[in-house]
């Protein structure tokens, strides 16, 4: 039978002799042991110290009544334990992340299922209720009989989240470890989705999530977050962790983040970065934000224009390239000056022995780093560009501006 935590809260509990033991006040899960099993029930007995029934001491469970398969004397006295997840205190009415629906939601009730074991039953947490049925149960529990509540709720639209898609939000790092809360599920989300959800949480909760994500994901999420929130988070992070995250970010994103920080903080973080990366970021920081230099990314793929298609593809396979955002490569002539760009599609369709210099796009477009952003926007608009190369005064490429950088600038206006 489908059981609900709300209906079982306050249930009268009897031992194997039929003696009344106490009323259920809380369910505990021990995530270190089993992620979804109700491991312990807290039984309150008025002025006596509360007792705890373990999962293997349950005989039958029904709304309002629970029977144990042991004597009252076999039960242990209650000792609080930080490693136990309390259904009422930690779950009911709290916000969780629905990793499948990509939303922050509030828990109305928790659904449980009985699992028959030899000699008794175990309760398993199956899903959390975030819809109207749970709300109705919470409202009417103890006022209207459970059978009437069940009839009432059956007509209401369901909104539940399976337990395996529930991600708890716990700002306290020690408790997070004890409850085995990892954010692996969050790492499968798109960074932009996670960033949006984090905006709805409190500062401590946001901090907790960033701190427990791996550096790469944390960097991506920070790049997507509102700049004020990013600043708040980075300022509170341990500088070493912050530097690790920055290292995983693209230099332009890292520069953008650092530009928002107070000078001392950004200097401190830059000192933590490895040489090459720090140099790139410092260079980017030296450009005015509203110029081409302030928009560009210094990570790009450049090749000699005499190479053949096959040589290029073979070389690219050996490199650790970001394939999701790579849409063109930059060509250099023999003087290492910018000589054009080739889109990946053109590269694919070319003959194996064709030299890539023949594939480059006309006309040859580039900007200087001090060009105003307006000029950049106009070039993108006029030539329907996806990438624009930034060159220094000696015509050497120093970075590229991608269309998504342009879009974010325009949206921000």
């Amino acid at each position: 039978m489908q059981l609900y935590a709300t209906e079982l809260m306050g249930a009268e509990t009897y031992d194997d002799q039929g003696n009344f033991v106490g009323r259920v006040r809380e369910f505990f899960i021990e995530p270190a042991d089993q992620p979804n099993r109700v491991a312990r029930l807290l039984l309150s007995r008025g002025r006596f110290q509360p007792l705890v029934a373990k999962y293997d001491q349950l005989a039958t469970v029904a709304p309002g009544t629970i029977r144990l398969n042991c004597n009252e004397r076999a039960l242990e006295l209650y000792q609080p334990n930080e490693g136990w997840l309390a259904v009422r205190k930690d779950l009911l009415d709290q916000q969780i992340i629905d990793t499948q629906g990509r939303k922050v939601v509030r828990v109305n009730d928790v659904d449980l299922a009985e699992q028959r074991m030899n000699g008794g039953v175990e309760l398993r947490l199956t899903q959390v209720d975030v819809g109207l049925p749970g709300a109705v149960r919470r409202l009417l529990q103890g006022i209207v009989s459970p059978s009437v509540v069940r009839k009432l709720q059956s007509g209401l639209p369901q909104r539940t989240i399976r337990w395996e898609f529930v991600n708890l939000i716990e700002p306290d790092p020690l408790r997070r470890v004890k409850l085995r809360i990892t954010h692996e599920k969050l790492e499968d989300l798109h960074p932009a989705d996670l960033a949006e959800m984090m905006e709805e949480l409190s500062a401590a909760e946001r901090q907790g999530i960033i701190a427990s994500l791996d550096e790469e994901m944390a960097g991506k999420v920070l790049a997507e977050l509102d700049e004020r929130l990013t600043r708040q988070i980075v300022e509170k992070l341990d500088p070493e962790k912050a530097a690790d995250i920055l290292e995983e970010m693209a230099p332009d994103a890292a520069a953008e983040l650092l530009a928002d920080l107070p000078r001392e903080t950004s200097e401190e973080l830059l000192d933590e970065l490895p040489g090459q990366e720090a140099e790139d970021v410092r260079e980017l920081l030296s450009f005015d934000r509203s110029t081409a230099g302030g928009m560009m990314n210094t990570e790009f793929v450049f090749l000699g224009e005499t190479a053949t298609r096959d040589e290029v593809l073979n070389w690219m396979r050996t490199q650790d390239l970001n394939l999701d955002s790579l849409d063109s490569v930059i060509l250099l002539d023999s003087a290492a000056q910018f000589s054009g760009i080739v889109t990946i599609a053109r590269l694919l369709m070319a003959m194996p022995e064709q030299s890539i210099g023949e594939l480059k796009l006309e006309p040859l477009l580039s900007v200087q780093p001090n060009a105003d952003e307006q000029e950049v926007f106009e070039l993108f608009d006029k030539y329907n560009l996806r990438t624009l190369t930034v060159v220094d005064e000696t015509q050497r490429p120093i970075g590229t501006i991608a269309v998504d950088d342009v879009v974010s600038r325009l949206v921000a206006k």
Binding site: L92, R106, N108, A135, R138, L139, S202, A203, D226, Q232
Partner: protein
């Protein structure tokens, strides 16, 4: 003077120049910092001066002249103390008041708070639209024209804007309260007398005076404003480090709100009280009576102030209510969401405006009874909300080092208990206007 002296002098001048620049830059930076936080406190406090409030201030000036001005100082303190607790909670926990009630007191308490809050706020919305109707009648515009236009205006403003844009409009509305200041100057009051009464309390122990005093204080703090203010700070993502600025925002709000009340009372005291028109019952009547006494402009500005206040409160109340209910019960909320993402939020918002404006449009709408009902509702409701706030703000697990200090707790509880007692008096005298032998306030 030799060359060395000159160059030293120039250097000194230059240094002073860069010094000045530096100071200018740092003060500009400080203002920018403040602006990033400012808003919720100032807006909320000023919305206190809504249609119902202005009516009470007008009456007190007309009936007792400057005699009640001294109550503004304790009122400013009460306003600040209660507002500051919410600002602090919002900044420290990063959660709205209804969120916190839900997480700490469970679903049923929250449902009760939300349902009761909805009806109390609805009564308030009706009162605001009644204020709009009254103000526009002074300009000879029928309520059948003014109220629907106002309703649509309010509805569109919020649905089409982002939080930032709406906040700017609201902050601008706060500036429009200055029309009362100008009105007061037109009235040529005795400033010295006004100042004396502000600092030195004068007590009269007759029933009418006491009722007016409680009425003044009772309308100053409305329960919904706590929710709005806290949500405002949360939505602005104000961090703990910016808490001093948030506190300044609340302080500026409380003082500016009370300053406006001062000018309203001074304006009516200098004209209506002095000329013996002491039985004025509402702000619209006062505006009309001001014309022969202080000139056309004083009357127009006074009426304009009422219109602005009512319109302002009418835009904030439905928004705040819808926000609070959705937050507490776990629906998507906030004007940064689209209609499809937060349907319940937008429906609540629309219903509040439609029903609020609709009731005022009923041909024989008992507007005056609604005004009383909304004040009674606020009065009954305020103690409940205040107690929730005091319980939450003292929780160390939520607030950490930012829990109330003992001194602050004493001030806060005294304020709370005083507010509770006073509002009971207001409620009692609203329901039984003849019980204390005073003229009914309307």
């Amino acid at each position: 003077m030799n060359w060395k002296d000159i160059s030293a002098k120039i250097e000194g001048l230059q240094n002073r120049g860069t010094d000045l620049q530096k100071r200018l830059r740092s003060s500009r930076k400080r203002i920018a910092l403040l602006l990033a936080v400012v808003g919720p406190g100032i807006i909320t406090s000023n919305v206190d001066n809504d249609a119902g409030g202005i009516s009470v201030y007008t009456q007190s000036g007309a009936q007792y002249g400057y005699a009640l001005l001294w109550s503004l100082i304790p009122m400013t303190i009460a306003l600040y103390v209660t507002g500051e607790m919410c600002a602090r909670m919002g900044v420290v926990t990063g959660k709205g008041l209804s969120d916190l009630i839900r997480e700490e007191f469970g679903f049923r308490s929250t449902f009760f708070v939300m349902t009761a809050g909805f009806f109390v706020d609805l009564a308030n919305v009706v009162a605001e639209f009644a204020g709009i109707a009254a103000a526009m009648q002074i300009f000879h515009v029928s309520k059948y024209i003014s109220v629907p236009i106002a309703a649509v205006l309010v509805w569109v403003l919020v649905l089409r804007g982002t939080y930032r844009q709406v906040e700017v409009v609201f902050l601008a509305a706060c500036v429009l309260y200055l029309s009362y200041v100008v009105s007061a100057f037109f009235a040529k009051p005795d400033w010295l007398e006004a100042a004396r009464h502000t600092v030195i309390p004068t007590m009269h122990f007759n029933a009418g005076y006491l009722v007016m005093l409680t009425g003044l204080i009772g309308t100053t703090i409305a329960p919904w404003q706590f929710f709005y203010m806290q949500a405002g700070f949360v939505e602005k993502k104000v961090s703990v480090r910016q808490y001093p600025q948030a506190r300044a925002d609340v302080l500026i709000g409380s003082i500016s709100c009370m300053a406006i009340v001062f000018f309203i009372i001074v304006c009516t005291a200098a004209t209506l009280y002095t000329s013996g028109q002491r039985s004025i019952t509402d702000a619209a009547e006062a505006a009309a009576a001001l014309v022969p006494l202080a000139g056309k402009w004083a009357g127009i500005l006074f009426a304009f102030g009422l219109l602005n206040a009512s319109l302002f409160a009418a835009s904030i109340l439905p928004l705040s209510t819808a926000h609070v209910i959705c937050e507490g019960l776990g629906f998507e909320a906030g004007i940064d969401h689209k209609f499809k993402e937060a349907p319940i939020f937008y429906w609540l918002y629309t219903i509040l405006i439609a029903v609020g404006a609709g009731i005022v449009l009923l041909p024989n709408a008992p507007l005056w009874k609604i005004l009383i009902f909304s004040q009674v509702g606020n009065g009954v409701w305020l103690p409940v909300v205040l107690i929730f706030i005091l319980l939450l703000v003292n929780r160390r697990d939520l607030m950490g080092e930012y829990v109330n200090s003992t001194t602050f707790n004493i001030v806060a509880w005294v304020t709370a208990v005083a507010m509770i007692l006073l509002t009971f008096v207001v409620v009692y005298t609203s329901i039984f206007p003849n019980a204390v032998g005073a003229a009914p306030p309307g």
